[in-house]
Amino acid sequence: MTNILEVRSIQTYIGQFHILEGVDAQVPAGGIVALLGRNGAGKTTTLKSILGLTPPRSGQVIFDGVEIQGLRPFEIAALGIGFVPEHRAIFRDLSVYENLKIAQRKKGDLERKSAFIFELFPDLQRLIKLPGTHLSGGQQQMLAVARALVPDNRLLLIDEPSEGLAPVIIEAMMEAIRRLSATTTVVLVEQNFIVASQLAQRYVIIEEGRSVQSGAMADLVQDKATIQRYLGAA
């Protein structure tokens, strides 16, 4: 299977701090790859390094056969990489409609995708005129994911989608990610191993800024010792 994304030995600094000390990851086209690891392991920085928000000082990021590690974030996004940041990153002063509209890369993107988006997140259609600041946490997370669905992205980087959400909302979010992964490759950062294991087909474990293990999720689920060692869950 061809890889849509390859990360090769990236080293990333934030200020003076050496955060990523060698992360490798292969993301095959189609399906979901989970980045796993404890808090502060470097999962979010890996996503931001792929997108150029914290550009790596060395190593390679190859998207669809093209090296992208030197490009600026908006150039990388224009190649077809969508990002759903953690903490329900919507534009709070814009309405739900404006949040979706602003994500258009081509005219008519929103019109073409609105049926799919509102089928995934029916609440958003009802709240379309409300400013983002008046949405609940779950609704904001739905909007953050929906916004990444507006343009024709070939790869979605989703950071902690279940963080701080009620179980019923997590269920809805999981279902939405599962459905959208049928058309778009997803790299998922998820602290909740149960959620990650139910969604992803492959995984990469990051520990103290290094990728230490990767493989099929079905194998990891059986490997209790690895789960206990790197993720603290059994």
Binding site: L51, L53, R72, P73, F74, A77, A78, F83, P85, A89, F91, R92, D93, L94, E98, K101, I102, A103, R105, P131, H134, R147, P151
Partner: protein, 358 residues
């Protein structure tokens, strides 16, 4: 017809305000016992004086809204915005007095200057943000402040005394025909407001708001935020410079006070009073501030500064989002509360077994 009705309802406050400002000189004349012919003949009196105060407010309102575009809408913390206004004012004075340019060429020069000023600020735009950008812009504005006060430029700028005796173009003298100047200033303020409203509601304006809220998010969506910030700076700089031009045409002198940090701080206070990022709030803030300065000085004399300070503190405490910002927030909360109540009573009227209305 329905769309016209909706437009009228949506813009009722704006249209009423414009209507009131159009008839205000006549209303003031009537209140002061002045006849309409004497008002039209530009005779001195309280009505003419009040027209002058309102002209100052319109000019300050345009300056404030241009600052709001940079600070409130795009989130660029600039402490050099007063320079945009002051440079426009000085350039107008120098070109009219020292070079004798016709007014249309002066206006063109001020627009070009506006673009150049924004480009000057944009040199540091990709490199610095937040308080660092504020300090750099303050530094650039301080250099301008030093230059206009320098003795070397005294023949042009008048240094500490200010630029005096600027010739007024024929047909545009606020002394000879203040009512005409009043309507010109009002028209200028209304056009600027409408253009700004259109700009902020446009896709470009929405990206400016997104950039203010979180630049990384805007970048990760695919926007080169530098260009959006630059566009906002250019629009604001041209507007402020044109406001400065009108200031020079209205006042007999250009005081160096407008080149100092104090004038930018005054703009900031206007935004705080009216509501940052609301556009109309900036203009209302300018009106409130100027009227407060004028009437408090009249009522409280030397204690006026203290009373104005008390009012500022009260506004920050009780209207934390400014006059317009707080009003918009309360109106939204009221609407949401009403919708929740309506939904509650609508559900209460339903038969729990059939789901039909009782």
């Amino acid at each position: 017809m329905a769309s016209q009705g909706a437009y009228l309802k949506r813009n009722l406050g704006f249209l009423l305000t414009i209507g009131a400002l159009v008839v205000l000189p006549f209303a003031l004349a009537w209140i002061n016992g002045q006849s309409i012919p004497s008002l039209l003949a530009n005779e001195a009196g309280d009505a003419k004086f009040m027209q002058g105060l309102l002209i100052e407010i319109f000019i300050l309102a345009v300056f404030a809204i241009s600052y709001d575009l940079v600070l409130g809408v795009t989130g660029l913390l600039s402490f050099g915005h007063g320079m945009f206004f002051a440079f426009g004012a000085y350039l107008t004075g120098v070109l009219l007095k020292s070079f004798g340019w016709p007014l249309w060429q002066v206006a063109l020069g001020v627009v070009v200057l506006g673009v150049l000023q924004a480009l000057l600020f944009s040199i540091v735009l990709p490199r610095v943000k937040g308080i660092t950008f504020a300090l750099v812009t303050l530094g650039i504005a301080s250099v301008f402040d030093i230059l206009v006060k320098s003795q070397e430029l005294n023949p042009f700028t008048g240094s500490d005394v200010g630029l005096q005796g600027v010739p007024r173009p024929a047909g545009l003298s606020p002394v000879d025909d203040r009512l005409r100047f009043y309507y010109l200033a009002l028209l200028f303020a209304v056009i600027v407001y409408l253009v700004y409203k259109r700009f902020v509601d446009s896709p470009t304006g929405r990206v400016c708001i997104a950039t203010r809220e979180n630049e990384s998010r805007a970048l990760s969506i695919g926007f080169n935020t530098f260009y959006f910030k630059l566009v906002a700076l250019i629009v604001a700089s041209i507007t402020a410079a044109l406001a400065g031009m009108l200031h020079t045409l209205y006042k007999p002198i250009v005081s160096p006070e407008i080149a100092g940090l104090g004038f930018t701080v005054q703009g900031l206070l206007m935004l705080l009073i009216g509501g940052i990022g609301t556009l109309s709030g900036a203009m209302i803030g300018a009106a409130v501030l100027r009227l407060m300065e004028f009437y408090f000085a009249r009522w409280f004399g030397e204690s006026a500064g203290f009373v104005i300070g008390v009012v500022y503190v009260s506004i920050v405490l009780f209207l934390p989002y400014g006059i317009v910002g707080t009003w918009q927030l309360k109106r939204l909360e009221f609407r949401q509360g009403r919708e929740r109540l309506l939904a509650y009573f609508s559900n209460a009227r339903k038969n729990p077994k059939t789901g039909e209305q009782r």
